[in-house]
Amino acid sequence: MLTQHTVLKRGASYWDRALLPQASFTARLQAVQAAIAACGDDAWLMYGDAQGYGPVAYTTHFFPRTRSALALVQRSGEPVLLASVGLRDIPASKTMTPVEDLRPFARLPGEAVKLVKERGLEKARLGVVGTTDALSVAEWSAIAGELPEVEWQRRDEQFATMRAVKGKYELDAIRAAAAVAHRGLEAAAQELAPGRKMREATAAIERVMRYGAAEDVRLLVASGPQCGVALRPPDDRVLEPEDTVMLVLAVAVQRYWAEAAQTFALGAASADQRALEVKASAAVEAMTAALHPEAHIANVAHAAESALGDPALVRVARGYGLGHALGLDAEEAPAIVAGSPAHVASSAAFGLHVVLHAHGRGACAGHTVIVGHG
């Protein structure tokens, strides 16, 4: 689910080689190089920024904490990584990635053009991944303008297809993130209490997740009357004795995301409130049951909406989305949408969530589901 972006990824920043060994990146690099050859391209430029680093992290395990990075992957050989860091930051940055050739940049276009020319690719057929929806038009115009003889090809779809199937190591990393998310929910049960400001409670919840080596933590909440309206970032509202609290959290560990959502009752919940919570949970469970390799995404969405029944609830849940694949990006394709022509990959991870508001009340449920075994 979309959450508020932070000015910096400031959590645990290192490469856990036991969880994601070097060999896992070698395999991914080979897969990308095979895709480049299959497309008839000479190389791919894979771009990512702090908000969506999947394309660049896939082969490099590097993620920009702020601003951006670009990987050049040719049909053979090792990738080159351009990162928006200073020269003095290179030693620390190198501990995060298996890529040996890591170069800093202050301005991306100049360094990218220089790299393309250095590799003799100024008249080549180059695929680009992640540039359309993330790279600024000013930077792209500068790069394309300096390389007029390059034949550019968008390869976002090819990359999306490739990364939709998660390998064993990727699923292990997502499980690790999901475990931290679960710890966050357990902490919430302790920390959400009447008399406490929401922000104080979420600070304590986030602390637990950061102790679990989270790189990034995102929280959306609603409490008391807010539950009937919408989710929001944590605020200074003081929790009251009979409050309901909705909590949606997303967490990244070793570049991989997981999410979870739960409704907490600080007092005795009314029958109507409990019924709403049951609806949300039932919809998530229905999706979970429908998620299996090669399943139609439309059927997964239908399972949730059938469980909800009430068209008004379906409309609210659709507004937040019912879930999506996840991995290196917090939201990956396919999204779980009614009528989607997409299928579940043979091995994948999904963040499922159902958020409901009705008659001044609210409820949410959600978790991360692994499909297949990598």
């Binding site: 508020q4 400031r10 929806d133 919408a230």
Partner: protein, 380 residues
């Protein structure tokens, strides 16, 4: 914290000044695009006029007269946007329909249309604007940063609060740092302390080692006795950032460390001395570098050892931006900035010292209140 300034009036004043600038530039309608990717070194122009810190992409439509319209994605975030003091009319839209909705609204407003946010605009969004507008818009990207160079009373109140939170973060660091905890656990403690005091975001870097090359993000390295812990702590309070840089030694500092840190204190003070209205911001960098360079470290006052001697801080990056010797604007009253003579030295490694200040008539006033000194914890 109870805010004492009339925020709505403050926002009305900002909007009025933007409209004056639009009139001077013969702009009929200004579209302010914000991607939702918050950045310490880039001004959030949309929040400047609305007091709304977006989750997703958003466009503010500002006609030279009449009501502004704020288009917000995702639609479920619209109720929160409506609570913002500067939001006059809020329309929730799907991200894919954001640009078309905003441009459609602008079609009924006076032209020419100017667009702000192109420097952060993804290729696909720029294409959507070009298609919807049917013509290349006037570049309106520099209009608001120029007006927002100095803090208004409401802005300054928030920067002061952010500075107080930064002090709280460093207090937590001093209190909890211990041998055996990882860098990221220490960062988690600092983060939690600041969030509990109102921080909603943080450009926070905390690293440790016996000889640091530079500041870096927290890793899984475990703290050791004698470590030099360096912290760049930058909490965000209601959109406004303040920064505190300090050095903390996990043990008794050596005479050399004390001596070199004293040099940084002198350098910071020399920077403060010239941070006065009417003087160029470049003078701060020159003053700091005179002290450090004069001590025999001139080559360490340049890249790759040193990036900048400070930068404007407020609603993201603001004037005077990076503080370097070669260029910089004239300082004005109520500009807020961090001045940090952070320095790599071959004998001690990287040490950090920096404070957020507001430029007042007679010079800078420190908003961060943490004592300007080297900190340490004796484990004996």
């Amino acid at each position: 914290m109870i805010e004492t300034i009339d925020l709505a009036a403050d926002l009305r004043d900002r909007l009025a000044r933007v409209r004056e600038a639009m009139a001077a530039e013969a702009i009929g309608t200004l579209l302010v695009y914000y991607r939702g990717q918050h950045n310490m070194l880039r001004m959030d122009q949309l929040m400047y006029l609305t007091d709304f810190r977006s989750i997703g992409p958003a466009v503010l439509v500002v006609p030279r007269g009449g009501r502004t319209q704020l288009f917000v994605a995702p639609p479920w975030d619209a109720p929160r946007a409506r609570e913002a003091a500067g939001a006059e009319e809020v329309i929730g839209v799907d991200p894919d329909g954001l640009v078309a909705a905003a441009v459609t609204a602008a079609r009924n407003l006076p032209g020419p249309v100017a667009l702000s946010g192109r420097e952060i605009m993804p290729v696909s969004v720029a294409a959507a604007f070009a298609k919807a507008l049917g013509a290349e818009p006037v570049d309106g990207g520099k209009l608001i940063p120029a007006i927002g160079a100095a803090r208004t009373p409401a802005e300054l109140e928030r920067v002061e609060r952010a500075a107080a939170i930064a002090d709280e973060g460093f207090r937590a660091l001093c209190e909890v740092a211990r041998v055996g905890m990882t860098e990221y656990e220490l960062a988690a403690e600092v983060e939690a302390a600041m969030q509990a005091h109102g921080s909603e975001d943080n450009f926070g870097l905390i690293a440790a080692g016996s000889h640091n090359i530079a500041i870096r993000p927290p890793s899984d390295r475990k703290l050791e006795a004698g470590d030099v812990i360096i912290g760049e702590i930058t909490p965000c309070y209601k959109g406004f950032l303040a920064q505190l840089c300090r050095t903390f030694i996990l043990g008794e500092p050596s005479a050399l460390q004390r001596e070199k840190f004293a040099m940084l204190i002198e350098a910071e003070q020399r920077g403060f001395d010239v941070a006065v209205p009417g003087k160029p911001s470049a003078g701060i960098a020159k003053a700091v570098n005179e002290i450090v360079g004069g001590a025999g470290y001139a080559e360490y006052c340049r890249q790759p050892y040193m990036r900048t001697r400070g930068h404007g801080l407020g609603l993201g990056g603001v004037v005077p931006y990076d503080v370097n010797e070669d260029t910089g604007p004239i300082l004005e009253r109520n500009m807020t900035m961090v001045i940090h003579p952070n320095q790599y030295l071959p004998e001690t490694g990287y040490m950090m010292l920096g404070d957020t200040v507001v430029i007042e008539a007679n010079g800078p006033r420190c908003l961060t209140k943490t004592p300007i000194k080297l900190f340490w914890k004796d484990n004996s």
